[in-house]
């Protein structure tokens, strides 16, 4: 036990902490500028100086640890005098342009000078000049205000791991600068904005648009740009969002945000938002009243149902919608329309991977806290770049790496490359070779009991030697060997799996091999989730064969439970999956499609096919916030509310249920409300007054959500809402096909250039096109290509090329990245008609019911060299 006395207050401590922390525990505030709870102590600003008895000099309390019997004084005359002197020094080169500076009112320096500082300075030599830099689209740098506390640099390198900025020059000429001196070209997470104590690094988004004291309301909510669901605060003035900021210490993100979350909210206020229901008459959209639109929809759906049966109607939900929307929508499909044809794009990867792993290991196996990653003793990443798909989860992997934890990165993941201890980049679609070699080696090293049914299955996986794998996937044996060594030493590793691993011809084999690895390494599973509520869709039964709470439709007892609850029968046969629906629409086997918030044309592979299929429908309803390309094909469009305009809940990839709260008023209607209105007109009364009513119903009926209420979620730690109801067991190994060795060792075609989907950090589906901020960072589509392929095609960065497949062609600009797998290009799918999905052919993998890339090649033709572009 350590006893320390601070300002006459006795504090007892178990473990030694810094004086600053000890004082904080006792409620004694010590001023700091360079210290920040997300960063390591630095001891640079000298404001936290304190007087310690028996020590001749003042000490920085942020770095000095307490010892037993220490007596500390934090506000003596000597300390206050020293602080005043420090502030006088800091102000020598500070602009003191507070009346003009956006930071005024929430500026640490301003507050501190007001409290301790000198009213006049004695320095007569004039301040250094440093013009404000507007070279960046997002961040304004004003180095006349910088006090060199280095918080931004430490945040950028030690926490974010972007290493974009550094302190340049020396002594009084020191300032912060990105490498270019102007544009940042960084990850634009904006976490430097969070930590800057002054107005030196500011966002351009709301420059001179408001003052901190003019913010009328702060709304605690979660971000809607990926499955992590970072806690954030929306600051509102009038009816518009002024700023999105992280909530100190809250949620899984603990004060961090990424560029999408911080800057991407501006689509909410975009002028392109739908503001009225639209009915298409004679090929033209006409504004309609709500009741007119709902009556129109109800009449048409009723007619189609009466004539062709409920199974001719299908529904597609979106991972952007809340749990409440998802629940009501599936209830509408099942109980009102009598159709199990309900699915979403979650089935392209997330839901299918989860279903596979839960089938083997049991329900909830992927529900793991993200914060566990840096606490594990190894990380294996495969199937996508976590730092782009789920940026804040990616930071956990970087943090693990920073602690010296080995990180094995298998595949193209630029954001992890300098953090990975093993970088394994297989040739396109040869992950099976790599994974089977790893499984073979680890099976020998770890040994398996051979008792359990899954062990037997692992034993049956064909042996693949490192040499055989090398020949196929092109990774040197010694690299795989060192990865095996690293993996075999891990005792509680984390395996992070992205959806790319499924979207390949041998997707199911990849899942089986990963399951074997998970079992052999006894690891925790994390599934990357691109949408904010993919997990929620799964939990709410927006799947063709699952009821809310992750219960199989085919299990009669569960179906009965819901039938009794709904008061009607539910068809017992599983419905169609999303890909089947599109095919069925194409074949005119389904007549009507009800789409809740999904832009199918661009968020699904093969846009032309999807468009053609949707055009063949007798009736298409789309709820959306923008007139998307899918909405344009609809007969009725219902304007929805964005995530910032409604109440509800999201379930993140950790299965944490979190509240989404209304910050501003929108002109649309919540999906659940619109669907209930239509339902009423169809004779099924859904009388929900608010989203609370829906959650209450969910808590009553879903075994997974028993007794859950919004109050439980409000704390932000409502993980895995499960109160003793039995979960689904694992070990259902039926239907798992054992791949033969030939299919594991399939080589890529010679001379074929493969196209893969790049997941850019700066975009989110096709929604981010409506965000001016995100579009300004990454305005145009591109193609990432490896060095060897670029050289052989004589391409250089900045060239424009045309990339063609049998389906179409795209004009893209070239970016050379040495880590792109051999003979392949990576193209993002986020630019509407300029996205990769528009030219890629896909087919259905019947085993995992997910689309897989039809691995046909592309041809690349150079249009313009970079230099010519400049000349033009």
């Amino acid at each position: 036990m350590i006893t320390v006395t601070i300002n006459r207050k006795k504090i007892e401590l178990e473990k030694p902490v810094t004086i600053l922390k000890a004082a904080g525990m006792a409620g004694i505030e010590i001023p700091t500028l360079c210290n920040h709870e997300m960063l390591e102590a630095y001891g640079g600003c000298r404001l936290c100086l304190v007087e310690i008895e028996k020590m001749p000099r003042l000490q920085t309390s942020c770095t000095q640890y307490v010892t037993d019997g220490m007596v500390v004084w934090t506000e003596t005359e000597r300390v206050v005098e020293a602080r005043k002197a420090m502030l006088e020094f800091l102000l020598i080169n500070h602009a003191l342009d507070c009346p003009y500076c956006d930071k005024a009112g929430e500026c640490d320096l301003q507050d501190m000078v007001a409290k301790y500082g000198p009213t006049t300075g004695r320095f007569a030599e004039g301040k250094r000049r440093h013009p404000e830099s507007f070279e960046d689209p997002i961040i304004v740098r004003n180095m006349e205000r910088c006090i060199s506390c280095t918080r931004c640099v430490r945040m950028c390198s030690k926490v974010q791991g972007a290493y974009a900025i550094s302190m340049v020059n020396r002594s009084n000429k020191t300032f912060v600068e990105p490498f270019s001196g102007g544009k940042y070209d960084c990850e634009y997470c904006g976490n430097c904005l969070t930590v800057c104590p002054v107005g030196a690094i500011m966002s351009r988004m709301h420059r001179h648009a408001y003052r901190p004291w003019l913010i009328e309301k702060e709304v605690d909510t979660v971000c809607s740009f990926c499955g992590v669901g970072c806690s954030m605060v929306l600051q509102v003035r009038g009816n518009s969002i002024v700023r999105a900021v992280p909530k100190k210490g809250a949620g899984s993100n603990k004060g961090l945000l990424c560029n999408r979350g911080r800057f991407g909210y501006d689509y909410v206020g975009s002028s392109g938002r739908l503001d009225s229901p639209m009915i298409k008459r004679d090929g033209k959209f006409q504004r309609a009243s709500w009741s007119e639109a709902f009556t129109f929809i109800a009449d048409r759906l009723k007619k189609i149902k009466d004539e062709n049966g409920g199974s001719s109607i299908a529904g597609i939900a979106s991972g952007r919608c809340t749990n409440e929307d998802g629940y009501v929508f599936q209830k509408f499909m099942r109980a009102v329309l009598g159709s199990n044809n309900i699915d979403s794009v979650a089935s392209f990867g997330y839901a299918q991977a989860q279903r596979f792993f839960e089938g083997i290991f049991g329900q909830g196996v992927t529900a793991n806290s993200m914060r566990g990653i840096p606490n594990s003793d190894g990380v294996f990443v495969v199937g996508g770049d976590p730092t782009a798909v789920n940026p804040v989860l990616g930071l956990q992997i970087r943090a693990a790496s920073g602690k010296g934890v080995p990180v094995v990165a298998a595949g193209y993941m630029p954001g992890l490359m300098i953090f990975a201890t093993s970088r394994l980049i297989p040739r396109p679609f040869t992950e099976t070779a790599l994974l089977s070699a790893l499984v073979t080696e680890l099976r020998d090293i770890k040994g398996i009991s051979g008792k359990g049914p899954f062990d037997i299955l692992i034993n049956d996986i064909p042996s693949v030697s490192l040499g055989e794998a090398e020949e196929v996937c092109g990774i040197p044996s010694e690299d795989m060997r060192s990865a095996v060594d690293a993996l075999s030493r891990m005792t509680n590793p984390s395996i992070v799996i992205g959806r790319d691993i499924l979207q390949q011809p041998e997707g199911q084999a990849c899942l089986l091999l990963l399951a074997a690895l998970i079992s052999l390494l006894n690891s925790r599973i994390y599934l990357l989730s691109e949408l904010p509520n993919e997990q929620g869709l799964v939990d709410m039964g927006c799947l063709p064969d699952m009821l809310p709470g992750g219960r199989h439709l085919s299990v009669e007892s569960f179906r009965r439970r819901y039938e009794e609850f709904f008061g009607v029968d539910i068809p017992s046969n599983p419905g169609m999956g999303i890909m089947e629906m599109i095919e069925a629409a194409h074949d005119k086997r389904i007549k009507a499609l009800h789409v809740m918030g999904e832009d199918l044309v661009y968020n699904m592979p093969d846009s032309a096919y999807v468009k053609a299929a949707l055009s063949k429908l007798d009736f298409l309803v789309v709820h959306d916030i923008f007139m998307t390309e899918t909405a344009q094909l609809a007969d009725v469009v219902i304007p929805s509310l964005s995530w910032a305009e409604k109440e509800g809940s999201y379930t993140n990839l950790e299965r944490k249920m979190q509240l989404v709260r209304k910050a501003v008023e929108g002109k649309g209607m919540e999906e659940w409300r619109a669907v209930s209105e239509i339902s009423k007109l169809l004779g099924f009364d859904m009388d929900y007054k608010s989203s609370v009513d829906i959650m209450t119903e969910i808590a009553n009926v879903s075994p997974l959500h028993k007794d859950i209420a919004y109050a439980d979620m409000a704390g932000g730690e409502c993980m895995w809402p499960y109160k003793g109801e039995p979960l689904r067991h694992g070990m259902s190994l039926e239907g798992i096909e054992m791949p033969d060795k030939g299919s594991l060792l399939k080589k890529p075609e010679k001379d074929r250039i493969y196209i893969g989907i790049d997941k850019p950090l700066f975009h989110f589906e096709n929604l981010s096109r409506n965000s001016a901020a995100l579009s300004s960072i990454a305005p145009e589509p591109y193609m990432n290509v490896g060095k060897a392929l670029a050289d052989s095609l004589s391409l250089a960065g900045g060239d424009s090329v045309s990339v063609s497949t049998g389906t179409g062609s795209l004009k893209l600009s070239v970016q050379v990245d040495p880590d792109v797998p051999e003979n392949s290009i990576m193209v993002p799918d986020n630019f509407g008609d300029k996205g990769a999905y528009t030219i890629m052919k896909w087919k259905m993998n019947s085993a995992i019911k997910a689309p897989v890339a039809d691995a046909t090649g592309v041809t690349i033709k150079k249009i313009k060299r970079a230099a010519e572009e400049v000349a033009v």
């Binding site: 640099v153 340049v168 600068e177």
Partner: protein
């Protein structure tokens, strides 16, 4: 672009140190020896070779006064103007450089032959005034001597 030799030399330097950061200063010297200064491209390249983030390379290199971030002439004159040298006439030497070569402190001659940096004591007070030309040391300078010496550097 760094020469193959420089890349090789940096590789050897890297192997001498436990972490990449430690090898940064000697690696930057290699580049400066070859190019005379550190261009942004060179900083980036060094970062790539050593696997040190380029922003950090820039931060380190700009911290130290001995690294140059602007191109300089073929020969760098570092003339001391501190107290001892000043008393012994370094002012007139500066004038000579200006008259004869058009050379101002921190400037470069039009033909790219000389660059001039004014120094604060190079430890030769006993034999002042003194200067360094590249890495050669010259002291007891007079107006006549400095011209003779500089004529040897083409």
């Amino acid at each position: 672009m760094l020469s193959e030799n420089a890349v090789k030399e940096i590789g050897l330097i890297r192997n001498k140190y436990h972490d990449a950061q430690s090898s940064l200063l000697p690696a930057l010297y290699v580049v400066q020896k070859e190019h005379g200064w550190l261009s942004p491209e060179a900083l980036k390249e060094v970062g790539e070779i050593l696997n040190v983030p380029k922003a950090e390379v820039k931060g380190v290199s700009t911290f130290y006064a001995m690294f140059r971030h602007r191109p300089i002439g073929r020969h760098l004159i570092q003339l001391c103007t501190n107290v001892a040298c000043m008393i012994m006439g370094s002012e007139s030497l500066l004038n000579i450089l200006k008259e004869r070569y058009g050379l101002e402190p921190n400037g470069t001659t039009g033909d790219g032959r000389f660059s001039l940096v004014v120094m604060e004591c190079i430890g030769a007070c006993g034999t002042a005034p003194a200067m360094l030309v590249d890495t050669d040391f010259h002291d007891n300078l007079t107006e006549e001597r400095i011209v003779n010496i500089l004529e040897k550097y083409k």
